[in-house]
């Protein structure tokens, strides 16, 4: 049965699993930032307030470790989904509509900078995922692993000292803190601003919560993806963009 793919009003951008993973990692990340920063900046009044509400440093630490396990579980589930997608669903990891970085992203970046500085009339014709969306994704995916490693150093310092000198725990503290400050700044400010506060989607881009993106927005913000959608004659030839309604 053939279906007019390009006639739909909205398209599915994120599946249920990905929306769920985003919600859980978002909650986990906010909780990790709150508990972690209150332990790192413990002399500040707000940090003492957080500690008081949670019932002391011990509880704050326990909650931090619980949230870390919960958030990292999302990374594990996401990786398992990748394997499922490739092996069972016979999908592909690479290609223009994947999250894998490619040379086109670098070209898109330079063209986008030209647009930002007024040297170009329109933004580059982005495909399904733009370079800044890919950056947001990979920053989190890689960051969760590096934060996980330094975090394990701080969680099990005695075990670490069986293989490495004790001052590696100090180094882990330094890297854990500085990466945390970077991650919190990137996610709370850069990700929020570039995703939700742009004119056009302000005050909130609901796509990650509903999973849907309208035809008009895809045409405006992801022209290369739209070209592919419009060319598709049936649903199956346009994987990952199932039309809705």
């Amino acid at each position: 049965m053939k279906e007019n793919v390009s006639g739909a009003k909205a398209y599915r951008r994120f599946s249920v699993l990905h929306r769920l993973l985003h919600i859980v990692t978002m909650m986990g990340f906010i909780g990790l930032a709150l508990t972690g920063l209150s332990l790192a900046f413990s002399s500040q009044w707000w940090a003492k307030g957080v500690s008081w509400v949670l019932g002391g440093a011990e509880n704050t630490g326990d909650l931090h470790r619980f949230l870390a396990v919960m958030t990292y579980a999302c990374v594990v589930v996401h990786t398992l989904w990748f394997l499922y997608y490739k092996m069972i669903l016979k999908g592909t990891w690479s290609g223009p509509r994947s999250l894998l970085p490619r040379w086109q992203d670098l070209k898109d970046f330079f063209q986008h900078v030209r647009f930002i500085f007024g040297r170009r009339k329109t933004p580059p014709p982005f495909d399904k995922f733009t370079y800044f969306e890919k950056f947001d994704y990979w920053a989190f995916f890689i960051g969760m692993n590096t934060m996980g490693i330094t975090g394990l150093f701080l969680w099990f310092p005695e075990t670490v000292s069986r293989f490495l000198p004790g001052y590696f725990v100090n180094l882990a503290q330094v890297l854990h803190l500085y990466e945390a400050i970077m991650a919190v700044s990137l996610k709370f400010v850069i990700h929020t601003v570039t995703t939700h506060l742009r004119p056009g989607v302000y005050p909130l881009d609901k796509t990650i919560f509903t999973g849907l993106m309208t035809r008009e927005r895809i045409m405006a913000e992801h022209p290369a993806q739209w070209e592919n959608l419009a060319a598709a004659t049936d649903v199956k030839s346009a994987p990952g963009h199932r039309p809705v309604s």
């Binding site: 332990l39 413990s42 000292s161 004790g166 001052y167 180094l171 500085y178 601003v193």
Partner: protein, 297 residues
């Protein structure tokens, strides 16, 4: 009037004595005023007063003792202190015979004689309990009274109050160690967030022995009280990330502190560059988006 006219010499001496007494009175009033405002503050007053605030003494750990219990029979103090000006110009805590503390605090006293503070005192040419004036403000090993206030120390402080107090007391002579401790997780959890499972100064260094813990075998015994699975390598974890007062030969810790410092600087530079790039990019981008939107209106 006829008194001042009697003789020039005695008049000046008398005036000086009156001025001295007046000064002490003012200081005593100021000290008692400050004391009543601060209550049992975390730090004993700097220096020492020759006047005792009996209302605070009554609330202290020694409040039920009699003066003579610690200071000997009154008849031994026939001379009025105003006639011993040399004595009054010295700090009270430095003139006391701390050997008398031993009769009630035998264990603490004997430990302190074996400890690092007493060793430093001996190196300065004095001993605990000896009546001695400090050689200089900078190099001055503590006697009992430098850490404990005999008149105003309260008993029954909670572990947390005691821990916060000792951070100030120890820190008054070891400021670099206090600062590095408060930056370390032990100090942040204990002092800032009130976690009494975390270590205060004396939990690792002992109070009266004042252990330096620079020797690994000594350190691991202390660490393993809370970290039973810790191995000898665990002791190179740096708690006091400062090389102040560190012996030249302790190259291992010097290298570790330097490495931590360098990694911190590199991390700071990398994070600053990344954030500067992304904040700059996002800021100009949002200006462009706003401009594009307003232009269409």
């Amino acid at each position: 009037l006829h008194n001042t006219g009697a003789s020039g010499g005695t008049g000046i001496a008398r005036g000086a004595r009156l001025a001295l007494a007046g000064t002490f009175l003012i200081f005593a009033l100021a000290a008692s005023a400050a004391g009543s405002i601060a209550g049992a503050g975390p730090v004993p007053e700097k220096g020492s007063s020759w006047f005792v605030d009996t209302s605070r003494l009554a609330q202290s750990a020694h409040g039920r003792l009699l003066c003579e219990d610690c200071h000997g029979p009154m008849k031994d103090h026939r001379k009025h202190p105003l006639k011993e000006r040399d004595l009054l110009l010295r700090e009270a805590i430095r003139t006391y015979d701390y050997g008398l503390c031993k009769s009630c605090h035998r264990l603490s006293y004997e430990r302190s004689l074996k400890g690092a503070h007493a060793k430093a005192l001996r190196e300065e040419g004095a001993a605990v309990g000896e009546k001695t004036a400090p050689k200089s403000e900078k190099k001055r090993a503590p006697v009992c009274g430098d850490c404990h206030s005999a008149h105003y120390e309260r008993s029954g402080l909670s572990r947390l109050d005691l821990g916060r107090r000792m951070t100030e007391v120890c820190g008054s002579c070891h400021p670099a160690q206090k600062e590095s401790y408060l930056k370390d997780f032990h100090g942040r959890a204990a002092v800032d967030l009130g976690n009494t499972d975390s270590a205060f100064c004396t939990d690792c260094h002992n109070a009266h022995m004042a252990l330096s813990l620079k020797e690994k075998g000594q350190a691991i015994r202390v660490c393993s009280r809370c970290h039973p699975k810790a191995s000898i390598r665990f002791t190179s974890f740096v708690i006091h990330a400062s090389v102040q007062n560190l012996p030249e030969k302790d190259q291992g810790k010097r290298d570790a502190v330097l490495l931590i410092h360098r990694v911190k600087i590199i991390a700071l530079i990398v994070v600053a560059l990344i954030l500067a790039f992304f904040f700059g990019h996002a800021f100009v981008w949002m200006l462009r988006e706003l401009h594009e939107k307003l232009r269409r209106h």
